[in-house]
């Protein structure tokens, strides 16, 4: 599409740039605000006295002798051992993404290629399943999990997250698979591949953008989940979001919000690298080339 870009009229170019700039500000400003504020004390970050305090760092200077402090970071990572939660989250995300995608690509492919009505019904029922608020599901799990003695462990949370996310993964991958011409796998099968071999060697290689996008969402679901992980993981196996929530305090006791803010900022940084890697995959000409065939 590079050639297209060169021929774009100036007016359109200006509009597109304007949209990008406005959207970037809307999307990124709260994050930069948080990044900046994470080096302040609570009194400045949530400056109720005067919002400009967060810029000047008045309270931070008074309390730490400097306009910037890393207290939030050392407090979260060292004192509260946030690294444990980060490690648990890494495990959960890794397994949820791998398992979700494995099950999802198999199912999504079958749904996209089946010509029978029951495939549609399967998809439809899966979708209605998804309407169940997770909080109700979780309160249903609790007695059973306690009874079976599987409550509190990481594998339990992983399987539950995979299952809850499965309808979404199926729909998303099924939409992507439908965009891939049937001829591709059918010609492979004419050449003597089995259905699975065609799927494995012909379809999967051209599906990367779809798989990566879907994987990104599975990842975000596992990474951001609160309803499930807060309720079915033991304190020992806690993931990041419940841990961050525990920094916030309760009705009767004060928490340490700055630990939470620092933890959020420091866990967003690795995501930046991750996206940079995906981006090459998504943008690569691989698909465009393959789809022509």
């Amino acid at each position: 599409m590079a050639s297209q870009a060169q021929k774009r009229p100036a007016a359109l170019q200006v509009i597109l740039i304007a949209i990008l700039v406005i959207w970037m500000i809307a999307a990124a400003f709260p994050f930069f605000w948080t990044l900046w504020g994470s080096f302040k004390v609570e009194g400045d970050f949530f400056s109720l006295a005067d919002w400009t305090n967060v810029l000047t760092g008045e309270m931070t200077t008074r309390e730490t002798g400097d306009a910037f402090t890393t207290e939030g970071y050392s407090g979260a990572w060292v004192q509260e051992e946030f690294w444990k939660a980060a490690w648990n989250s890494t495990l959960v995300c890794l397994f949820v993404v791998t398992i979700s995608l494995t099950l999802g690509t198999l199912g999504g492919y079958a749904l996209a290629r089946s010509t029978y009505r029951y495939a549609f019904w399967f998809l439809l029922i899966a979708l209605i399943f998804r309407a169940m608020p997770p909080i109700t599901l979780v309160s249903g799990y609790l007695p059973v999990f306690f009874q079976w003695n599987i409550w509190g462990h990481l594998p339990t949370a992983i399987i539950v997250l995979v299952a809850i996310n499965q309808p979404f993964t199926l729909w998303m991958l099924h939409s992507f698979f439908k965009n891939i011409p049937q001829d591709l796998d059918e010609s492979a099968m004419v050449d003597g591949c089995t259905r699975f071999q065609a799927f494995r060697h012909v379809i999967i290689p051209v599906m990367w953008p779809g798989i990566i996008t879907t994987g990104l969402f599975s990842f975000l679901l596992a990474y951001n989940d609160f309803a499930v992980t807060a309720m079915i993981l033991d304190k020992e196996n806690q993931t990041m979001v419940p841990k961050i929530a525990s920094f916030l305090g309760t009705t009767q006791t004060k928490g340490n919000v700055m630990f939470a803010v620092a933890a959020v900022v420091s866990t967003t940084a690795p995501l930046f690298l991750l996206i940079m890697v995906f981006q090459r995959q998504i943008v690569s000409g691989l698909t465009a080339g393959a789809v022509k065939g």
Partner: protein, 413 residues
Amino acid sequence: MNLGKILMTGSFLVAASATTTMAAECGITDGRLSIVGNEFPAIQTVARNAQACEGLGEAKANLTADHQKINLAGMQGNPAEYTTAIVANSSIVALINEDVLRPLDDLVAAFGQDIPKNQLITINGQVMAVAFMANAQHLVYRKDILEQIGMEPPTTYEGLLETAEKILAEGILEYPVGGAYMAGWNLAQEFVNMYIGHGGEFYEPGTAQVSINNEAGVATLEMLKALSEYMNPDYLTHDSNATSAEWEAGNVALMNMWGSRTGVLMDAEGSTPEVYENTMVGAPMTVAGGGTPASTLWWDGWTVAKNISDEDAEATFKAMKQGISPAILSPETMGEAVWMIDGYEPAPVNEGVFSAISMQTPPYPMLPHHGLLHTALGDNIADFLQGKESAQQALSDIEDAYMTAAREKGFIN
């Protein structure tokens, strides 16, 4: 900030957090200890000391803010996952209702003779829990501002309104009164306080039949509304975190706040000297000429699960007793709570809770169906405060919502 300083801060924090608890002899030979409870520092201290007992076959603690959502399910299995739940007087009810707690009379008689009688929580003559700390809401005020307008700290809510009016009239603060009035649990708690202060009865005696649509109920709502006029217009979104933040920012001069949260208001962190040096605690206030303070007393205590072996129950009892023994008090843990433990020396900041106790503030109602009313209150008062409906309508909505819920839960037929 240079690297050396960062490292120093880091190592200091490590040292501070590594307060190792010495292993203790508690007379346990075998058995399991598994604690579920909230996660504030005082409870962590208790759990740490209980786990330090020698001889326990298994010792673990799951302390989380979501404890109320998991403790019931975790104690219903057989054997129960948790051998003890740390609860408060509001949350013990849910466990008693489902009959998952073990009466402690035998264990107290055999191993707990030295637990002071006033720490034992008895329901219908049976010991169900052992309390170890107290809490209450009471007045917090700014000394400098009251001096500036030449008034004494108020002892009644009517006095508080007068004081607030004066502060407003002198143009010192725009919104002089603060309060955790967030719709939901917090607002319902304020209603419970104020209704008790007005001498109201929540139920028809001996039944689960609610009766708050009366004069005391209307007066309560009117008072809450009168107070809200002096608050930041966002008051319906202010939980106690937000209210404390308002206080530390110096925007508020008078508020009704949890005793457990006053310590951090008076320390140097998060505030200017002008605010924290002048932050004072007072007694809970009365209302409408009543003698009972418009506040409630709270305790936190531990229980023992019913669905566990007698051996585990004995080990848990002994370990938890060790967890609240005078030995756990140290200069570090002393300030974590208003302990009900021998040897506890209260700090000035705890005066509010102590006056609440000495003024015979009633405890928060420990009734099987009160949780339902609390939820109904929290959902329906905001409409009145926002002027969307009359006090009678709000009270009747609360009664209807409660009665429906109570019918679903089998309290009323």
